[in-house]
């Protein structure tokens, strides 16, 4: 009896210590990832004069549970890259995340450019920041506009006109993929970006093909291109999966 009375408290103490340890471990597990982690399929037989995709359930399929990092996010998007060196690009798609506690979720566009002083810069903007975070499928376009500008559009509505690439008339490659800055983000395995297209020099929209995978991550994330020629997908589609 004495042993029992002694044993039970020890078990409880052990369990409590274990729970505290697990709790602190879980808290410590949230980490900012540098460099960022990617699952990408790349179309690289340009030039591309515009690019287009549909994001299936862009916001709904992305999750982020990191409240301790400065800038935790997960994106599902396309990158329109002007040079092979990857120094100039426009990106557009869906993001879910925070910045210092402020909500940073929704459709977004960004540009990586050299400004008028010759300084390199990266600007990222939430689209329609006053609106509720969107749900469901949406399409995104980067296309050439007037006077050397580039139009960024969501659901065929122009959201921004970018004039920071006056010498670039086409893209060298187009990336479609996921990006994250935190190991506390995830996505629904099987989520897709589909109906992938590009514009040729005559402004005709054609289906994208000839992709190569760049799954640069330690999270087990995989991007896989599916051509309509040998899969059940009706049009060019990238499928994202994880273990």
């Amino acid at each position: 009896m004495n042993n029992l009375r002694f044993t039970i408290p020890r078990c409880m103490v052990s369990s409590a210590v274990g729970l505290i340890f697990m709790s602190s471990s879980l808290s410590a597990y949230a980490a900012e990832l540098s460099p960022h982690q990617y699952a990408i399929e790349r179309a690289q037989v340009g030039p591309y004069y515009g690019a287009y995709l549909d994001n299936s359930l862009g916001q709904d399929d992305l999750t982020q549970n990191d409240n301790s990092s400065y800038n935790p996010f997960i994106d599902k998007e396309l990158w329109f890259c002007f040079d092979a060196a990857g120094t100039k690009w426009i990106e557009v798609g869906d993001t879910v995340g925070l910045i210092s506690g402020l909500n940073r979720s929704g459709h977004f566009w960004a540009e990586n450019y050299v400004d008028s002083t010759g300084t390199q810069a990266y600007r990222e903007t939430l689209i329609d920041p006053a609106d509720p975070v969107p749900t469901g499928d949406h399409n995104f376009t980067v296309g050439s506009g007037a006077s050397g500008a580039w139009n960024v559009s969501v659901d065929n509505v122009t959201k921004a006109v970018i004039s920071d690439f006056p010498n670039d008339t086409s893209a060298d490659h187009v990336d479609v993929g996921l990006e994250t800055s935190s190991d506390q983000t995830s996505f629904r395995s099987g989520t897709i970006s589909y109906n992938l297209q590009y514009q040729d020099s005559t402004a005709t929209w054609l289906y994208l093909d000839n992709f190569a995978a760049f799954n640069s991550n330690s999270l087990g994330w995989v991007a896989t291109f599916n051509s309509p020629t040998n899969t059940t997908y009706a049009n060019p589609t990238v499928v994202f999966t994880h273990s």
């Binding site: 900012e32 540098s34 460099p35 960022h36 990617y38 037989v45 287009y52 990092s69 400065y70 800038n71 990158w79 890259c81 990857g86 120094t87 690009w89 910045i99 210092s100 506690g101 402020l102 909500n103 960004a110 540009e111 990586n112 400004d115 008028s116 002083t117 300084t119 810069a121 990266y122 600007r123 990222e124 903007t125 939430l126 689209i127 329609d128 920041p129 376009t141 139009n151 559009s153 065929n156 509505v157 122009t158 959201k159 921004a160 006109v161 970018i162 920071d164 060298d172 490659h173 990336d175 800055s181 109906n195 929209w205 054609l206 289906y207 093909d209 000839n210 760049f214 051509s227 020629t229």
Partner: protein, 163 residues
């Protein structure tokens, strides 16, 4: 009769040859030449965050709230808050030297413009920047919602979008 048989065999061979190359022809075409359905014409966007320059500052989020958030941001990135000021969105575009016209935020929308120095650089959403960079960001002064940010400075290394 023999000639007729030979002709039919020749036609059959030609047909089989044509059938054998059709799949390859389709695959080649799908590789890069298949037209997608035409896209509808783009429509111009409208300001979902319209101008509000006539509203008094008393109707804006208190500046102290933005300063607290800016200090938290600076602490996370080992930076220092240089300034937080109530201004308009147009001033953010000038400060960030961006030639991108937004169709969702009006130029005269009131925003808090935050400037943070980054002596050690930063891993931004767009990749790594080296020492002596800076970050500018705009918060909607009326709603307190994040709108946009720019990081400027020397780049470090080759990003994932190089090939």
């Amino acid at each position: 009769m023999k000639n007729l048989l030979m002709k039919n065999l020749a036609k059959l061979s030609a047909s089989l040859f044509a059938l054998s190359i059709i799949p390859a022809g389709i695959a080649g075409a799908l590789a890069s030449d298949v037209k997608a359905p035409p896209h509808p014409p783009l429509r111009a966007g409208t300001f979902s965050a319209p101008g509000n320059s006539s509203l008094p500052s008393s109707q804006m989020v208190p500046q102290t709230t933005i300063v607290t958030s800016a200090n938290a941001t600076a602490a996370h990135v080992a930076g220092a808050v240089k300034s937080v000021r109530l201004t308009d969105y147009k001033s953010f575009l000038i400060a960030s030297r961006s030639n991108a016209k937004d169709y969702t935020v009006a130029p005269d929308r009131q925003v808090y413009l935050v400037n943070i120095s980054l002596p050690s650089g930063i891993e931004s959403r767009g990749g790594k920047f080296g020492p002596n960079s800076e970050m500018l960001y705009a918060v909607d002064a009326q709603t307190g919602k994040f709108i946009t940010s720019t990081v400027r400075g020397p780049r470090v290394g080759r990003g994932v979008h190089s090939r």
